[in-house]
Amino acid sequence: MFRKVSIAIGALLLVGLLAVGGCQLTQLNASQPSDTTKWEQIEEQTPAVVVDKKAVIDGGKFNKFFPQASGYERVYTQEKDGFAEAKLKQDGNTLAMLSVSDTASNPNAIVKYQNSDRTLAGYPLAEVGSTATSLLVAERLQVKVLSRDTDFTPADREAWLEKFDLTGLAKLVN
């Protein structure tokens, strides 16, 4: 990876570093956290990751199947083993996070699809919490859209899920 980084740096890739984003965060009065004990218990109950990393699909292979549309900006934000994520932006505002993950690295993720009777584009669909809608492609790859703007509705999430190249993703598995 360092070699890749070196090349990147040599090519003056950081010119655009730190362009001021239009992020408008409000000042919050964060409460003094007193939940360390709770998280200790959760940590104890959470098994360490026992996954054959070689069997997990490289996150970089997911990139080309992400959707793109005129009027929107797609900014890739993370690329790790079995995971790739991009921000969906418009006029500088982040509307949603788009992601693909290989459930081989987190098999529990599949359970929610087994309990779901909804499908989209032929794949099982799950809605979790108030911000996430996802599909399970080829019984293994989780494609997820997370709202990051109140105007980005569940219907928008489903529309963007369909814009992924789901067939292409499925071929990575089969």
């Binding site: 003056l12 010119v15 992020c23 959760i42 990393k53 970089g60 790790k80 979790v128 108030s130 911000t131």
Partner: protein, 295 residues
């Protein structure tokens, strides 16, 4: 064992010199940074979710990812912590040596010794290199093209952006003056691998700096600075920032005379850990973003 991610986030101070100094940058970056502390609070803010069971599920996955050393998150944390503790040790050593010389002090500023220009310049560059390497440890190298990677880097906001602006202001402008970019270039141009090997900041993170041999690492450091200096210069110019304006914004909590600018740099060096503080926040945010997408 090193601290878990929830401990690190829960233990972030709400008020200390680091937080005050970062808040002072609000004049330059209005509304950009909030001091987000607390693990659960972070999950709520980043995801916008409020269901307790879901938050615990997201947190559990984030903890699991952080604890897996092969994911690189712990290495990034180590980098943020190490580069800051190096600065603090250096600053405290400078403070101690001044005290033994019996220099009279009216305030803490008078007990400080500015770092030699060369050491300060290397510190600035090492913090920049830390940022680049930590970015890659946390996020990988996103996207398929050079343009994608540039976009990913250019998407800095919140605590990541404030960290870089603090670097420009507190480790560039204040200790080195308005010509800090030119000065850094000059020092870097004359720097030898031997100089680098004797620098505490470099020694502390040498293993993590791309290159292998010191000479190659020096090339990487030079290229890193070269690539970011344009942004730094543009930022300073577009915002009209001067060492005096940075200090003026800090004066609400520390009384400092304008002619003691370099002393003030040393003061910030020993009394703040803004890299570690905002580094914990960046790491937590990215872990949560990944966790909520993977569960």
């Amino acid at each position: 064992m090193s601290k878990s991610i929830y401990e690190l986030v829960n233990q972030l101070p709400q008020k200390n010199l680091t937080v005050f100094s970062l808040r002072s940058l609000d004049k330059v970056l209005p509304g950009e940074w909030e001091n987000l502390v607390g693990f659960e609070n972070t999950i709520r803010q980043v995801t916008g979710e409020s269901d307790a069971a879901l938050i615990e599920q997201i947190g559990a996955r984030a903890i699991q990812l952080y604890n897996d050393k092969s994911e690189g998150y712990q290495r990034a944390m180590w980098l943020y912590q190490t580069i800051d503790s190096t600065g603090r040790a250096l600053g405290q050593a400078a403070l101690a040596s001044k005290v033994t010389e019996n220099v009279p002090f009216l305030s803490i500023i008078n007990r400080l010794t500015p770092k030699p220009e060369k050491a300060q310049t290397i510190d600035l560059c090492m913090k920049l290199v830390t940022e680049i390497v930590a970015f890659c440890k946390i996020n990988g190298i996103p996207g398929d093209s050079v343009g994608d990677f540039v976009k990913a880097l250019g998407d800095y906001s919140g605590e990541s952006l404030v960290r870089m602006v603090a670097l420009v202001c507190f480790d560039g402008l204040v200790p080195l003056g308005p010509n800090f970019i030119k000065q850094t270039e000059t020092v870097l141009g004359n720097l030898t691998p031997k100089d680098l090997d004797s620098n505490p900041a470099f020694k502390a993170i040498k293993d993590a700096v791309p290159g292998g041999k010191t000479a190659d690492q020096l090339t990487f450091i030079g290229a890193s600075f070269e690539s970011v200096k344009g942004w730094m210069g543009d930022f300073v110019e577009s915002k009209g920032i001067t060492p005096q304006s940075v200090v003026a914004n800090l004066k609400t909590f520390v009384d400092v005379a304008d002619d003691k600018m370099d002393y003030f740099g040393a003061f910030l060096d020993i009394s703040t850990n803004y890299y570690e503080h905002t580094g914990v926040q960046t790491l937590a945010r990215r872990l949560v973003e990944r966790a909520v997408a993977e569960i």
